[in-house]
């Protein structure tokens, strides 16, 4: 047990922290692209099915498990999973719950650096796109800036010449993150998200209103208007519902967007009071994430792109991927907004940066809690060690920037694949080992809402089966290709080695912690239920 007892300052604080962790770049950039590619408005049917049958129920299980662990003074995924799963297998599977946020932080902060760098650029005049030039020339300027700023040209290019701008921006972004993590849960993370989330919502609302009032800005292209943009995103193509890939894409989007199986919720919930509500809190955090994803992401990104680039230009942009859409296409759109372009650009990238930092702030906390719990070190000492590990990982991401080989390897194996595994382990241990009746009671302890009884069946049968089908489909679709990619370049191989090194570190720390906690008489195998 950690010596220093940390707690959330308010119930709203933990909700906003979890929601902030969930709301990220994917809400604004990945979701609209996935919807447009998978049936437009029809995509929302499998999407909401996945939300209600997969995302929210597994999220509730995580909230309940985390708070239960907290009652025993446990705050890390390994010890909490060990308690819920009653043994070493669950405990060591729980390592994934620390590996995911720590591994993802190595590259996520690099992407966060882009959002902050673009925000600063738009505050000081934009990225140099001439709106009177042919659209191809504008796109070329935006692509050139993107390639230069992200180091896409060559490995190591961010460590010399103009690449140093990116490196310096990363140092600033990393410093801000570490400063808030150092300040601790209540004074750091909670305080930051308490103002960052409302500011993000207000900025997104301003951008949304501006986009919806664009009308038909170019009389020469009457087909490029707001309604056409909304139609591109929302007109349903029901034929797509017969394609398994659509259901897979929807489930994956929900899953990754809500941050379930990520290791953060279980850690954050462990700092709640014994009788704090988790049912309404979990639902509210999920709803907030959906507001940002469907309410803002689904209305802004593609609508703005169609208004200025047309249907075919937007199709090309979406096909280019999430990052190109956000960092190379939207700057062209802002260049066409006249006097408001730079202001809108600054606001948009501020929204993306806030979305990114409220997520990245949550990524070190599970690893810090894990180390503190295992060693009984102070918060400052544990944070320093984790910051050091994070710096090493981030430097590798920055170095292997060409083609994002290191980033893509970490993103697939840690930020995607392991999330499936952890979520599956969590829901199975919760519903089948801890017991669904006991879990249901735990979930409702202090609850401000009554969850409908059928959710019990969803948690025990439907969610694990749904997840298993999605996981099998995901494997069939991506596993072989990604395995080949994982050894195809130096950056990718270094990525795999980094994952292995992190696993070794986490196993050692978990083992040290297990010995220390057992010696201190902590009930790690849940032989005695925690008191309410």
């Amino acid at each position: 047990m950690a010596e220093h007892k940390e707690e959330w300052g308010s119930k709203l604080g933990v909700i906003l922290a979890v929601a902030g962790s969930a709301v990220g770049l994917g809400n604004f950039l990945r979701f609209p692209g996935q919807a447009a590619q998978n049936g437009g408005g029809a995509f929302l049917i499998p999407y909401f099915c996945a939300l209600f049958l997969l995302g929210i129920p597994i999220g509730w299980a995580e909230w309940a498990m985390g708070r239960y662990g907290g009652k025993k003074g446990l705050h890390s995924a390994p010890t909490i999973m060990g308690t819920i799963g009653k043994g070493s297998v669950a405990r060591y599977l729980g390592i994934i719950g620390v590996l995911i946020p720590l591994g993802v932080s190595t590259y996520y902060m690099f992407i966060e650096t882009w959002t902050f760098g673009y925000f600063l650029k738009y505050l000081t005049g934009g990225i140099g796109i001439d709106p009177s030039a042919p659209i191809e020339a504008q796109t070329a300027v935006a692509n050139a800036f993107y390639d230069k700023f992200t180091g896409a040209g060559a490995d190591g290019s961010l460590f010399s010449g103009e690449g140093l701008n990116t490196l310096i921006t990363w140092v600033v972004v990393f410093g801000i993150n570490i400063w808030f993590v150092f300040r601790g849960l209540s004074k750091g993370i909670e305080k930051f998200v308490s103002w960052a989330m409302p500011v993000m919502a207000i900025c997104a609302l301003v951008v949304l209103i501006r986009v919806l009032t664009l009308g038909t800005p170019d009389p020469a292209h009457p087909d490029q208007n707001v309604l056409a943009g909304l139609g591109y995103m929302w007109n349903p193509n029901y034929e797509k519902l017969g394609d398994f890939k659509t259901w897979l894409a929807a489930a994956s989007q929900i899953f990754f967007s809500l941050s379930v199986g990520f290791g953060v919720i279980i850690n954050y919930a462990s700092y709640m009071k014994k009788s704090d509500d988790v049912a309404l809190s979990g639902l509210t955090a999920s709803a907030t994430n959906e507001l940002f994803e469907v309410g803002f992401g689904g209305m802004i990104t593609l609508t703005a792109a169609v208004v200025f680039l047309g249907l075919s230009g937007t199709s090309v942009a979406v096909g280019g991927g999430t990052f190109k859409l956000g960092f190379a296409t939207l700057p062209v759109v802002f260049a066409h907004m006249g006097a408001f372009g730079n202001i809108m650009g600054a606001l948009w990238f501020l929204v993306l940066w806030l979305a990114a930092i409220t997520s990245s702030l949550s990524m070190y906390q599970p690893a810090v809690a894990h180390l503190k719990e295992a060693t009984n070190w102070t918060h400052g000492k544990a944070t320093s060690v984790i910051a050091g590990i994070g710096t090493l990982g981030a430097l590798l991401t920055l170095w292997y920037s060409a083609g994002g080989t290191f980033l893509n390897t970490m993103d697939f194996w840690v930020g995607t694949y392991l999330i499936f595994l952890l979520a599956m382990a969590q829901i199975i241990y919760f519903a089948w080992v801890f017991g669904i009746d006991r879990g249901w009671k735990e979930l409702h302890n202090g609850a401000a809402i009554q969850i409908p009884g059928f959710v019990k069946i969803v948690m025990k049968y439907i969610a694990p089966a749904y997840l298993l089908i999605v996981f099998i489909g995901f494997n069939l679709q991506s596993f072989a290709g990604e395995l080949k990619n994982a050894t195809a370049s130096v950056g990718a191989r270094v990525g795999l080695l980094t994952i292995l090194a992190l696993i070794v570190y986490l196993v050692v720390v978990t083992r040290v912690g297990e010995r220390r906690l057992r010696a201190a008489g902590v009930d790690l195998d849940d032989t005695t239920p925690a008191n309410d």
């Binding site: 709203l12 929302w234 193509n237 709803a287 249901w440 679709q477």
Partner: protein
């Protein structure tokens, strides 16, 4: 982005598009407002009514 683009390329928002969009927005905006209203209305120390979780 794995798939080739297959959007519904109409130059306006169809009736079905309007319906889907409005329903989705009502669900996420309404759901979020309801949740936050409930959170803010619930006293910090409130316990579940008898029978909850039974």
């Amino acid at each position: 982005m794995q798939d080739a683009m297959q959007p519904v390329q109409q130059a306006t928002l169809s009736t079905a598009g309007w319906v889907t969009m409005v329903l989705s927005l009502v669900l996420v905006w309404g759901g979020t407002f309801w949740c936050f209203k409930k959170v803010l209305e619930t006293p910090a120390e409130e316990k579940a009514p008898p029978g909850y979780g039974a």
